[in-house]
């Protein structure tokens, strides 16, 4: 549905995005993850034909963003960073205007209007001026605008900003329900959101894609060791050394209070069984034993931090991990 090939955008001497390529299949939800200023918005602006790329091609639903902007725009529902609302209009007037711009016929418009107002629970405010609505409502009006003409492609720039926790969950559910019938790109820097909603994550930093995969595989491929957390009831002075002596254990890091340890093991080995046996034979009192998986947060920080020091290392790690994955 969306096909981006080697796009580069330069503002004078500043390169905002550098040879970015990715694609989104029909019905897929893709998260664009990255720190502020990484190039997320620029990429979205190129896809929505707001600005052309300096180099490279972007295609949406088979139409080229530079050569056939009108066709591309018809396929897209776009929510920019700031909800694009007119304060002097009421919610209904605004959405009617949006529908007319997109060429919906009068009959279609009425049903589309009711549907998107219902979907985003704007019924109680539909006759109020947008200028008098709170930030959360404006954001929802912005989303209603993007969904109004039921476009096959949705591009949402930080869709849950400014919403309260209950609304955030509702919007995530909404986006999930759109998967399958719509292709969605959403940008965010809230990592749980990406894990909750998306099938695939693209991590972008300093204008370059540093990783692209499902959230689970991303954390798996960046894991260089298995980590196990162990909590004991009593721990004599020699327990650290005894744990260290178990074959396969790389490091033992004492945690808070002295009774919790973070144990790093060799990749691909589950030592929980062995650890438990050692604890029980020594009668240290086993309170907790669990594996620690890498959250997307860790992945993100690791990738974007590495990126700052040396790009090559990260890329080497990622491609190595990718090679491993295809091997298994």
């Amino acid at each position: 549905m969306i096909d981006v090939h080697n796009i580069t955008k330069r503002y004078g001497h500043h390169t905002a995005i550098d040879r970015v390529s990715f694609s989104v299949a029909k019905g897929e939800v893709l998260a664009f993850l990255g720190p502020n200023g990484a190039g997320k918005t620029t990429t979205m602006r190129i896809l929505t034909c707001f600005m052309p790329a300096t180099e490279g091609t972007a295609r949406v639903a088979g139409f080229d963003c530079t050569d056939q902007p009108l066709e591309v725009k018809r396929q897209i529902g776009y929510l920019p960073e700031t909800p694009p609302v007119y304060q002097e209009l009421t919610v209904t007037e605004y959405l009617t205007f949006v529908g007319q711009l997109r060429g919906l016929s009068a009959a279609k418009l009425t049903s589309a209007l009711d549907q998107s107002i219902g979907r985003l629970e704007l019924g109680t405010v539909r006759h109020r001026l947008i200028g008098n609505l709170s930030r959360g409502y404006r954001q929802r009006v912005g989303l209603a605008q993007a969904l109004l003409h039921d476009p096959p492609v949705l591009i949402l720039d930080e869709p849950t900003v400014g919403l309260d926790p209950k609304q955030i969950i509702e919007i995530r559910e909404l986006i999930k329900s759109l998967a399958g019938s719509h292709s969605v790109i959403l940008s965010t820097h809230i990592l749980p959101e990406a894990t909750a909603v998306c099938q695939r994550v693209v991590i972008i930093n300093n204008g370059r894609i540093v990783a692209e995969d499902t959230p689970e595989q991303l954390s798996a491929r960046l894991r260089q060791s298995e980590k196990v957390s162990l909590t004991l009831k009593s721990c004599p002075a020699d327990c650290e050394a005894k744990l260290q002596a178990i074959p396969g254990v790389l490091h033992v890091f004492p945690g808070q209070g002295g009774s919790t340890f973070l144990i790093e093991c060799e990749l691909g080995r589950d030592l929980r069984d062995e650890l438990a046996r050692v604890v029980v034979t020594n009668q240290w009192g086993l309170l907790e034993l669990r594996t620690v998986s890498m959250t997307l947060e860790d992945v993100f920080l690791q990738l974007t931090r590495h990126e700052d020091h040396s790009t090559e290392t990260t890329e080497a790690t990622v491609s190595l991990a990718a090679a491993e994955q295809t091997g298994t």
């Binding site: 929505t48 707001f50 700031t82 694009p84 002097e88 209009l89 205007f97 711009l101 001026l129």
Partner: protein, 256 residues
């Protein structure tokens, strides 16, 4: 409904919800009424003087004494008032970030430019239409020729149309409404003064060309009751040029 119609409807709606139209309209009508009152009073004083001198009823020409002066004075009024009406058109969209929304909607840039221009022109036409009350009331008490008044109105509509197009252009180049108003004010005043520059050259080719650029002589001829195709061409081509430049400016924001 076509996208242009949608843009026009929305702009009119925004104009009438915000106080701009009411304030600008009230000031415009007040000044028009006040000027008319002054010129009629002045004509009355002249008539009394004439009657005293002749010792009988005097004939005075209202077309010359009232309407020509009135239309001539409206130049400066339009110059000050119309930039206020146009300043928000593009500047506000940029400031409120709705500009990106418009440019990513499936409509062409000229739909946006023409739609916005037509909306503000309709408002201006409405205001001008209301001023027809003045000659209509005067008609009840006096006798005058309507034809130069219609050409005067034609001149005022064309002059306003040109001023509005300059204002739309100025609004497109900045996101600050005050700056937009000031740019159009400055541009209009400069073109006004070009007429004086043309006058310095006298009746030479250079002088005629420079004078032609200014709207002064074209407007004056219409106010005097002369309809000349070259004047109509001047106004229409001027406003098309300004709208074309606006189109280029809006389009160019995509390439920055």
């Amino acid at each position: 409904m076509t996208p242009i119609q949608a843009v026009i409807t929305k702009e009119l709606r925004v104009y009438f919800v915000s106080p701009i139209v009411y304030v600008v309209g009230a000031v415009f009508l007040l000044i028009f009424g006040l000027l008319s009152y002054l010129y009629v009073g002045f004509a009355g004083a002249q008539a009394i003087q004439l009657m005293q001198m002749q010792g009988g009823p005097a004939q005075i020409n209202l077309n010359d004494l009232v309407f020509r002066n009135l239309f001539a004075s409206m130049r400066i009024v339009l110059l000050i008032i119309l930039p206020i009406l146009t300043m928000r058109l593009f500047a506000e969209e940029r400031k409120l970030r709705t500009f990106e929304f418009l440019l990513t909607s499936p409509l062409r840039v000229h739909d946006i430019v023409v739609g916005k221009y037509v909306s503000v022109f309709l408002i201006y036409l409405g205001l001008v239409g209301l001023t027809v009350l003045v000659p209509s009331v005067l008609m009840l008490f006096s006798d005058f020729d309507w034809n130069p008044i219609w050409t005067g109105y034609l001149g005022m509509v064309l002059l306003g149309a040109l001023f509005l197009s300059v204002g739309v252009f100025a609004s497109a180049v900045t996101e600050n409404q005050i700056v937009a108003a000031f740019i159009s004010f400055g541009m209009l005043l400069t073109v006004w003064l070009i007429a004086g520059l043309g006058g310095l050259f006298g009746d030479t080719t250079a002088g005629r060309v420079i004078s032609y650029v200014s709207y002064m002589e074209h407007y004056d001829r219409l106010v005097r009751g002369l309809i000349d195709t070259s004047d109509l061409v001047y106004f229409v081509s001027g406003l098309i040029l300004m709208l074309f430049l606006t189109h280029r400016v809006v389009e160019s924001t995509r390439w920055k």
